[in-house]
């Protein structure tokens, strides 16, 4: 599903964010990317959804080579990838319903179908009573669940999450992790970038450790 071959990424000449990363993530896998701040976790995720192109090497996602993908094709690649951002990226002047509906509007769904599907996923997330609220009226955990609902509403083949539990309490962390697991059980390939050790200890998962832009460790962690 995801393949990186000897990937280098530099923002400027001297600052190398990724240094010869080779990684294979099969379909249906659940991977934690971890490492210290600046290790290259976010850069790697950004490469996967086409926000960046590698300086050198090949990045293949869902059969598409990102390095050679024309800009006009990137939106179609992204339609199969759900992304949960560290800062949520919710639109403050739109309701919860409208925030989640964006993903389906882009796909051209009709209003009625969008309503049904969004309500369904918000109920799964326990947010059906907040459907008409704006994000600013929600707690951090609720905002994160709205962001997750937006990423999952179109049943993506891949789910990427960048520090999804950064500012959440333990209860909310566990809840968010459960949603990731459920999505993974449904067949979604999940990649979570985090430096939260507790999240990593929460079950048998593959953990890829990045250090200064290179893979320092790649293996299963069992608690």
């Amino acid at each position: 599903m995801i393949q990186l071959h000897n990937v280098f990424m530099s923002y400027q000449r001297d600052a190398t964010a990724l240094n010869g990363v080779t990684l294979h993530i099969p379909k249906g896998d659940f991977v934690f990317l971890t490492g210290a701040s600046g290790a290259g976790k976010s850069t790697l995720l950004r490469l996967l959804y086409g926000a960046l192109k590698p300086t050198r090497g090949q990045v293949v996602v869902d059969g598409q080579n990102i390095s050679r993908l024309p800009p006009g094709q990137i939106p179609y690649l992204r339609r199969g990838i759900g992304v949960v951002f560290q800062d949520f990226k919710l639109l403050p002047n739109r309701t919860v319903l409208e925030n989640v509906a964006i993903t389906l509007e882009v796909l051209g769904w009709g209003k009625k179908d969008i309503g049904k599907k969004v309500f369904h996923i918000l109920r799964q997330m326990g947010l059906e009573h907040k459907i008409n609220a704006t994000p600013l009226r929600l707690s951090g955990g609720e905002q994160q669940r709205v962001a997750l609902a937006r990423a999952l509403v179109n049943d993506p083949r891949i789910l990427l999450a960048d520090e999804p539990t950064g500012n959440l309490d333990e209860e909310n962390k566990a809840q968010i992790l459960n949603f990731f697991k459920e999505a993974n059980i449904r067949g979604t390939t999940v990649v979570v970038a985090t430096h939260d050790r507790r999240l990593l200890e929460n079950g048998h998962r593959r953990v890829v450790v990045l250090d200064k832009g290179a893979i320092a460790e790649d293996g299963d962690v069992q608690k």
């Binding site: 959804y49 939106p75 199969g80 990226k89 739109r94 964006i102 051209g108 083949r157 459920e182």
Partner: protein
């Protein structure tokens, strides 16, 4: 739990050009409702900018009208040595009327010339005692068409007129025509320069205001790109929004212009016409009004388009 598969392709209500257009327009209207303040600021800026431009056009159009009025005084008078017979008169009149540039030909007989002269000397009629009608020559007073009123065209016209047999002498106030034309060319140049700068300022102010409103929503643009929206999908509602803003701004400017004109400008005196018979300023012709309206829409559209380029990275 259902197996994961690519997003089920539900019935797409927004497919096809009409469906897409309907969706984009609805999205643009929703955007305006969700961002009332920035939209009010943008429409207000467009209104003010176009109102200033409209007022300038109003003054310019009236000055042009005034100049046109003045230029009617550009007249060629062809004098005869001897009063022509009615037959000769008809031939000469037909010759003059066939000349390109002739608007109107009026025959002034010797008697009529003396009558006019007497009228001008009102109160000093004694000066004309014993003077017969023979003293003044008969003439044709020729008004010229608008395009033949500048000094070169008048000279060319006079040259052609000289070739008509029977005409002895011509007068057309060469110096006045030359000065008038120089003055008018100067006025037009100043008008074009002022208008050009004003237009540039309007385009600059409006496009920057739109740029600021789009900047305030750059997160929305970014997010749309991240969830897989195409360039067209992101841009279309913003472009429609720009057109709506432009239309609203120009319409408001025209309403205020109408209110100003019919409120006090139409009877603001005769300071431009210098003619007590005139009723004051005339309003902008329909073509100009339509131009301002559609220009406003175009301004909104182009302002949005150039601003969007900066904020859409895909």
């Amino acid at each position: 739990m259902s197996r994961n598969k690519p997003a089920k392709r539900a019935r797409l209500a927004n497919e096809g050009v009409p469906g897409r257009l309907k969706y984009f327009t609805a999205r643009a209207v929703a955007n305006i409702r969700q961002n009332v303040f920035v939209n009010v600021v943008t429409v207000g800026t467009i209104t003010l900018a176009l109102l200033i431009l409209s007022l300038f056009l109003l003054v310019f159009v009236n000055l042009e009208g005034l100049a046109d009025n003045w230029s009617k005084r550009v007249q060629v008078t062809a004098y005869f040595d001897q009063e022509p017979s009615p037959q000769e008169l008809g031939t000469i009149r037909a010759g003059i009327q066939s000349l390109p540039g002739t608007a109107q030909v009026v025959y002034v007989s010797k008697e009529e010339a003396v009558t006019r002269f007497r009228a001008r000397l009102k109160g000093q009629e004694s000066l004309l005692e014993g003077v017969s009608a023979d003293i003044l020559p008969a003439s044709f007073e020729i008004s010229l068409k608008r395009e033949s009123r500048d000094s070169e065209a008048v000279e060319a016209y006079v040259a052609r007129l000289k070739r008509i047999p029977g005409v002895a002498e011509m007068q057309y106030g060469e110096e006045w025509v030359r000065r008038f034309n120089t003055f008018m060319n100067f006025m037009r140049l100043v008008g074009a320069l002022l208008g050009g700068f004003l237009l540039l300022a309007v385009v600059f102010i409006v496009s920057n205001t739109i740029k600021l409103t789009i900047y305030s929503r750059k997160e929305e643009l970014e997010l749309l790109g991240l969830v897989g929206a195409t360039r067209m999908f992101i841009k279309a509602p913003f472009l429609i929004e720009g057109v709506i803003q432009g239309a609203a701004g120009s319409l408001l400017a025209l309403v205020i212009l109408c209110a100003c004109y019919f409120g006090f400008l139409h009877n603001a005196g005769n300071f431009l016409s210098f003619n007590p018979a005139d009723t004051g300023l005339s309003f902008l012709p329909a073509g100009y009004l339509a131009g301002i309206f559609f220009g406003g829409m175009l301004l909104g559209f182009l302002g949005s388009m150039t601003s969007l380029k900066r904020f859409i990275s895909i």
